[in-house]
């Protein structure tokens, strides 16, 4: 049950429109359905998806998509922008209290990863030169205290425990006193996992909160959570007024739609994400990256943006026409290169393509100086040669080489590349974007190849 990427689906939704020109409202509705299904498959809550689709549809109905020559890309762009907007546009940090210690309380369901994450957080602060103290308030799960002691020990962070006590309010109060006495400027309290519907246990957290007034109450959420994420997040937030969220187990292959659900119902930022079992595997959360992950698109979005900036849409259509009628010539080839130049270094662009093998890239020669050489060679051709009316004979090759300051071998090389590209374009014009990308990946990037329109 591998996920098909949203980009691929939208591409095929809009494919039937090729050559038809404008996009109708019905087409747009079909596209929105694809977006909806993709988000649901990614575990975003049903209600959240509904609201989201409504707002995206509104925007898409504006001229933006309907008039666009690249409707699929436009839809992806809008969806992504709205998603990032919903997720919070920037990275968020832990608030450091002006009066130490900064108290951080970890909360969440059973098995979410609170204990490990508490230690990881401590590790981050320790690295920053702070003096964290961990406090074990999970007095219920067998060996939970032991677990915190072990991971604390591994990081050389002190762990505060009260042997035999189950009074967590008292334990946290004592921990605070201990931190003050030992000038620990960060106090991280690990609590037992609990169900959001367990009133007694939720009251326990409220009691701790009332007693020691944490500056950060963090909800730890398993990235694999499904539809129920909204219930959990809403309850914890209502009861405790949380300050942020940590998303764990993102090193798995889940799409992680719960991130959107949680954010949508609490409007609290996701601050960190857990990326593995090692105690250093905690990273600052990047909302934009998460949006792409949920949509399943890698860096395709930034590529689209770059391409958009660089490509003149009218020229793109002309080129497409040429591809179809197979009149692609050296002038077009040159134009491709010029547009590529506007997009930045070739190697950087090629790396953004999904499915392109990074190792293949290392061998491929994407030297920008070679691009200049290609330009020089084509510019030394006569109009007849460039437009394929005149066959390039050995004699002409010599002339071109001389004119461009290159060798006949280099001219031959370019001609070979051009013909290769011509052949490829013929195949490409019938394929959708994703297949093109895969194709590129398989072939490795041919030397100095220009890319057709995206």
């Amino acid at each position: 049950m591998a996920f098909e990427s949203l980009a691929e689906k939208l591409q095929s939704t809009f494919k039937k429109l090729k050559g038809k020109g404008k996009v109708s409202e019905k087409d747009l509705k079909d596209a929105m359905r694809e977006v909806k299904l993709a988000l649901l498959e990614a575990d975003v809550n049903f209600k959240v998806v509904k609201d989201f689709i409504n707002s995206v549809s509104e925007r898409a109905k504006g001229a933006e998509v309907l008039e666009s020559l690249t409707p699929a890309q436009q839809v992806i762009k809008i969806v992504n922008e709205e998603l990032v907007k919903l997720m919070g546009e920037k990275e968020e940090k832990i608030q450091i209290s002006s009066k130490p210690p900064t108290i951080i309380m970890m909360t969440g369901l059973q098995g979410a990863g609170k204990t490990t994450t508490a230690a990881k957080l401590g590790g981050i602060f320790k690295k920053q030169g702070k003096r964290p103290l961990l406090c074990a308030c999970d007095v219920y799960r067998p060996a939970a205290i032991k677990q915190l002691q072990v991971v604390g020990g591994q990081l050389q962070i002190p762990v505060f425990t009260v042997e035999g006590s189950t009074d967590v309010v008292d334990i946290s109060k004592q921990a605070l006193r201990h931190a003050e006495l030992h000038s620990n400027d960060i106090l991280i309290i690990d609590t037992a996992g609990r169900l959001h519907v367990d009133e007694e246990m939720m009251q326990e957290l409220k009691n701790i909160k009332a007693e020691i007034n944490p500056s950060e109450i963090l909800l730890v959420v398993d990235a694999m959570t499904g539809q129920d994420a909204v219930n959990v997040a809403e309850s914890f937030n209502n009861e405790l007024d949380i300050d942020g969220v940590i998303l764990t187990k993102l090193d798995g292959d889940t799409r992680g739609g719960a991130a959107i659900s949680v954010r949508a119902v609490t409007n609290k930022p996701i601050k960190f994400c857990g990326m593995g079992e090692k105690l250093t595997d905690l990273e600052v959360f990047h909302p934009d990256r998460m949006a792409s992950r949920i949509l399943g698109m890698g860096d395709v979005l930034s590529l689209i943006e770059k391409a958009e900036q660089a490509f003149d849409e009218k020229k793109a259509v002309e080129l497409e026409q040429k591809m179809r009628t197979q009149t692609f010539n050296y002038s077009d080839f040159l134009e491709q290169f010029e547009q590529m130049k506007n997009m930045g270094p070739l190697s950087q662009i090629a790396k953004m393509l999904p499915g392109v093998d990074a190792r293949a890239l290392e061998n491929a020669d994407l030297d920008d100086r070679k691009v200049l050489r290609v330009e020089a060679i084509i510019k030394s051709m006569t109009p007849g040669e460039r437009e394929l009316r005149d066959k390039i004979t050995p004699k002409r090759k010599e002339r071109i080489a001389k004119g461009s300051g290159t060798t006949v071998a280099q001219v031959n090389n370019l001609i070979k590349q051009f013909e290769q590209m011509q052949k490829m374009l013929k195949q490409f014009s019938g394929m959708n974007m994703n297949k093109k990308m895969k194709r590129l990946g398989k072939m490795g990037i041919p030397k100095n190849m220009g890319f057709p329109k995206f």
């Binding site: 098995g111 067998p142 499904g226 129920d228 219930n231 292959d253 889940t254």
Partner: protein, 308 residues
């Protein structure tokens, strides 16, 4: 007194705007129309059954309604109930096999789903039946995991075979097999470290453990139970797929059903991999484990009051 009263109790605890009651949905309809199907589909999706599986189920429901010429929304609900139960029970048996001395039960799953706790509960259950039980502490990786299992062994009155944290889990299994053989124990329960299914080397480790059990106890039944957290969404399908490649999963333990999550993903897993749910976890206590009953489970998903 339905054995699922506990689940339902949990479910009805939330008066949450996000929880739609199917009954109220049904009551809002006088006739069977497209909107009703759409609402039903929504209820299914909201219980993590997944878009595709939900659409398939509703498609089946539509066919049935058409062929049986059903006009009553209430009857539609009963048909849906039946379809759901059928998916879960079709051609499978949810009994736990315990042949051989010892019979092997290996417990696997991603991190934090409830493997160790379920083992504690299962052990207690067999002890209650007068059987001798050995636990193998093969989670040698997670801090405190061995101590956690020790507490459960103690609570259940089972023997435990362990080594130090960080030792080779395969060696622990090997020890435990020999111990259980010598003691002529009835049940050997193997705890394993939580691991994400996309970590190749950790899945290889699991394969190795399974192979040892298979080789050393050729005449014993081997239950491989995949523990799934009911709050998990669509990723559980990938979990089932990849864990199945490492060890021959014979059943699912669906935990944390005492929360508000419904665990609907098991429909997709049953559909695609024909793995039945065998046990469910409904709390953190030693008795909070039950045999899976499809009827009750579907009741809980559809939140109907009758068969309670």
């Amino acid at each position: 007194m339905g054995i699922f009263s506990k689940i339902k109790e949990g479910l009805s605890k939330t008066k949450n705007s996000f929880n739609e009651k199917l009954d109220s949905v049904i009551k809002a309809f006088r006739t069977v129309d497209e909107d009703l199907f759409e609402e039903l589909e929504e209820v299914l999706i909201m219980s993590d059954i997944g878009v595709n599986t939900s659409m398939e189920i509703i498609e089946r429901l539509r066919d049935t309604v058409l062929t049986k010429n059903i006009k009553e929304p209430e009857t539609v609900k009963n048909e849906l109930h039946e379809i759901l139960v059928n998916i879960l029970t079709e051609g499978t048996d949810s009994k736990i096999e315990t042949q051989g001395t010892p019979a092997v039960i290996m417990v696997i799953g991603v991190n934090g789903v409830g493997k160790t706790t379920s083992i504690g509960k299962i052990a207690a259950n067999y002890k209650k039946q007068g059987k001798s039980v050995v636990l193998a502490a093969a989670d040698t990786f997670r801090a405190g995991a061995i101590e956690q299992l020790e507490v459960w062994a103690d609570r259940a009155g089972a023997d435990i075979i362990k080594q130090q944290e960080g030792s080779d889990p395969a060696a622990v299994i090997f020890d435990a097999v020999n111990y259980a053989k010598n003691k002529k124990a009835d049940i050997l329960l193997c705890d394993t470290a939580g691991r994400l299914h996309n970590k190749k080397n950790l899945m290889e480790e699991l394969k190795k453990i399974y192979k040892i059990l298979d080789r050393e106890l050729p005449n014993s039944s081997k239950e491989v139970l995949l523990v799934l957290d009911a709050t998990t969404g669509q990723n559980a399908v990938m979990q089932a797929k990849l864990f199945k490649e490492a060890a021959d999963i014979t059943g699912i333990v669906l935990t944390k059903l005492d929360g508000t999550a419904k665990g609907g993903i098991v429909f997709a897993i049953k559909n695609e991999y024909d793995i039945p749910v065998k046990l469910i976890g409904v709390g953190e206590g030693i008795d909070d484990l039950m045999e899976f009953e499809a009827e009750d489970f579907v009741d809980a998903i559809l939140e109907t009051e009758e068969n309670a």
